[in-house]
């Protein structure tokens, strides 16, 4: 093969040129998956924010929820590509050793949404509080009537799932583990608990089976809004959709629309855009001044309900739709 000298020269010039142009800070974003609208929105927000701040955003994701191997590869690749700050929604603690390794090379690693040990800073929803808010709402709405609760959970051992579950119970006034526990607490009022993986069809199946176990269920906690929509489907098919409370967490646009339609009674809304923009700002700050972000910053959670209840602070679905993530 023969290369002409001008071609080689121009290629070299291009390479050098791009190397010099790279003084814009490079910031990485690694999400759990590319497909969950929550992460899609997070990526959009990070990209817009990076453009505004004159930074360059690289992004990557695991293939499925829990794909720590994919995230580790992405961490290594981004660090070697010159990212000085990497934001990551951890798929699991298996990423920690790699995070430590690249931190030792001067890379700032910020946890978004999901906490893990050793992150320089955490920008996330307080999932326990998100659970507490819907628990308090359910408690007030039931107004002392006897309750039979179904818990439609994520999968065993996931901190976000445990925090929402336990927070909900605490908000309802039941005995529950604290925010640090990864154990799902139980109580006599909970007549059924089942895993859904946050999936609509599995939420429906879980609720159908729970109704078989106890047709008198009148409060349904769900890990997220797709699971809630599935649960509603099951209730509707059984002719029991009236008078059953469905509580959820997320605040995606579809979920807020479902709240408006009366499918979901109340939901705790979280803010992925805010997490992403705070992460980008911290990345730019680190590139300019060398000062790393630290500690936990609560990105906020708001209770959204169609019908407000006295004594519980909530916003209506119009506010929820203004602030929702996903396709409006």
């Amino acid at each position: 093969m023969k290369f002409s000298t001008p071609l080689i020269l121009s290629t070299l010039t291009l390479a050098v040129g791009s190397a010099f142009a790279a003084d814009a800070p490079v910031i990485g974003l690694i999400t759990k998956t590319e497909t969950n609208p929550f992460f899609v929105k997070m990526k959009e927000g990070a990209k817009a924010e990076a453009e505004k701040a004159g930074a360059k955003l690289m992004s990557a994701a695991g293939k499925i929820d829990g794909d720590t191997a994919g995230q580790i590869t992405a961490l290594e690749n981004m660090a070697s590509a010159g990212a000085k700050t990497i934001m990551i929604t951890s798929a699991g603690d298996a990423i920690i050793p790699t995070v430590k390794k690249i931190q030792a090379k001067g890379v700032q690693v910020i946890a978004l949404d999901s906490p893990f040990e050793g992150a320089d800073a955490l920008f996330a929803t307080d999932n326990y509080k998100a659970g507490v808010l819907i628990g308090q709402y359910a408690k007030a709405a039931m107004a002392g009537k006897p309750v039979k609760i179904a818990m439609l959970d994520l999968f065993p051992g996931h901190p976000v799932g445990a925090q929402r579950h336990n927070g909900f119970m605490a908000g309802f006034g039941l005995k529950a583990n604290d925010a640090k526990s990864n154990e799902l607490s139980t109580a006599p009022e909970i007549v059924c608990a089942n895993d859904t993986n946050g999936d609509r069809a599995k939420g429906q199946t879980a609720m159908e089976n729970c109704l078989q176990k106890d047709p008198g269920i009148n409060v349904v906690y769900t890990i997220n809004e797709p699971a809630a929509a599935g649960a509603y489907n099951a209730l509707k098919k059984a002719g029991k959709e009236k008078g059953v409370l469905i509580l959820s967490v997320d605040g995606g646009c579809q979920g807020i629309k479902d709240t408006e339609a009366g499918i979901i009674t109340a939901t705790s809304q979280q803010y992925p855009l805010k997490m992403a923009s705070m992460g980008v700002a911290a990345g730019v700050e680190y590139a300019k001044t060398g000062k790393k972000a630290t500690g936990y910053v609560d990105t906020g959670v708001t209770l959204i309900a169609k019908n407000a209840i006295a004594g519980v602070d909530s916003k209506d679905t119009k506010v929820g739709l203004d602030l929702c993530w996903g396709k409006k």
Binding site: E34, T35, N36, P37, V40, I64, F155, P156, C192, A193, N194, D195, D199, R200, A201, Q204, T205, A206, E208, N209, C210, Q212, K213, P226, A229, G230, N233, Q254, G326, K327
Partner: protein
């Protein structure tokens, strides 16, 4: 050749016995288990995996495997719902388009297996990823809602006595009956077994092995499309994240049903039993208040037992 051993293999009775024992156990544990309402529910819960398992069974009978089935189903579901909702297409036509897409995906698998001579495992591993990515890109990872009623009619129910039966369940049972008849009573069905048993011998007696394989893969794709329609009817939406566990669930059902992964042996009704066993465990353990993760544990143990039974019956038959 010892006929009594090879025509009544262990694998054929095993699944029925396993199902009977499981049902007896749950009946003793929960008074609600053996109600018509509950059993109808279990059938509704397994109908999607059950119909995918028909396609999967056909392929496994030819000694192949299809890892792409769940993702092809998700693609079909997104295509039919998006065509109907976003483009305002006649819902029946939209369903046909969805079925066409999944059949073409199956056809592609079949052509790659026969023309390019790639192993089915590798081909379908590739198409699994392709179908998943296309589904996500095309749907922008958004759930498709507000479906016309014609799209969800298979979710409707009618009553037998006091028990509600869904049209989807009936569809599944009819498809199994059809597949069973074709495999047992017709020449193409016999050819399929012959190809799975020994492709060389099948070729020598004049069966066009490649043609059988291509038709089987394309037909399997059609079954995934029907499963997509059932899934849409059951959940009421087009869900781009559907099908993530269905590929392995369908293989599990086929294996539990006693169909040999080495091809040529198995009864299609076994796959229905296999799917029902998994559904019965999920339902029964919930009624007992046992955590879902034990359902996964038990399914794993059953799969190993089923394959072990197949291996032992093979050794016995030799």
């Amino acid at each position: 050749m010892n006929l009594s051993k090879s025509t009544i293999p262990w694998g054929a009775l095993g699944p029925w016995i396993a199902l009977a024992i499981t049902c007896l156990f749950f009946t003793s544990q929960s008074s609600r288990f053996l109600s018509g309402e509950n059993l109808s529910l279990v059938l509704q819960q397994v109908m999607v995996v059950g119909v995918i398992a028909i396609g999967q069974s056909l392929i496994i009978l030819t000694a192949g495997i299809d890892l792409s089935c769940g993702m092809v189903m998700a693609l079909g579901g997104v295509v039919m719902t998006k065509f109907a909702v976003d483009y305002g297409m006649n819902p029946y036509l939209a369903i046909v388009c969805g079925l066409l897409v999944t059949s073409c995906a199956g056809l592609l698998n079949g052509l790659l297996v026969t023309r390019v001579k790639l192993p089915p495992f590798i081909v379908t591993l590739g198409t699994l990823n392709i179908a998943f990515a296309i589904t996500q890109i095309y749907s922008e990872a958004q759930t498709i809602t507000n479906l016309p009623p014609a799209m969800t009619f298979l979710g409707n129910t009618f009553n037998i006595g006091s028990t509600e039966v869904s049209l989807g369940t009936v569809t599944m049972l009819v498809l199994y009956g059809l597949a069973w008849f074709v495999l047992r009573e017709t020449a193409p069905g016999r050819h399929l077994y012959a190809v799975g048993n020994n492709p060389e011998a099948a070729r020598l007696i004049g069966i066009s092995v490649d043609k059988v394989l291509v038709v089987v893969y394309a037909l399997a794709g059609l079954f995934y499309g029907i499963a997509a329609l059932l899934s849409v009817a059951r959940t009421g939406v087009g869900d781009p994240n559907a099908g993530t566990t269905e590929n392995l669930d369908a293989i599990t059902a086929v294996v539990l049903g006693g169909t040999s992964l080495f091809g040529g042996r198995g009864i299609i009704l076994g796959s229905l039993v296999g799917a029902v066993i998994v559904g019965v465990f999920r339902n029964g353990l919930t009624l007992m208040g046992v955590a879902s993760v034990y359902q996964t544990l038990i399914t794993g143990v059953l799969v190993i037992l089923a394959v072990a039974a197949d291996q032992m019956s093979r050794k016995g038959a030799r």
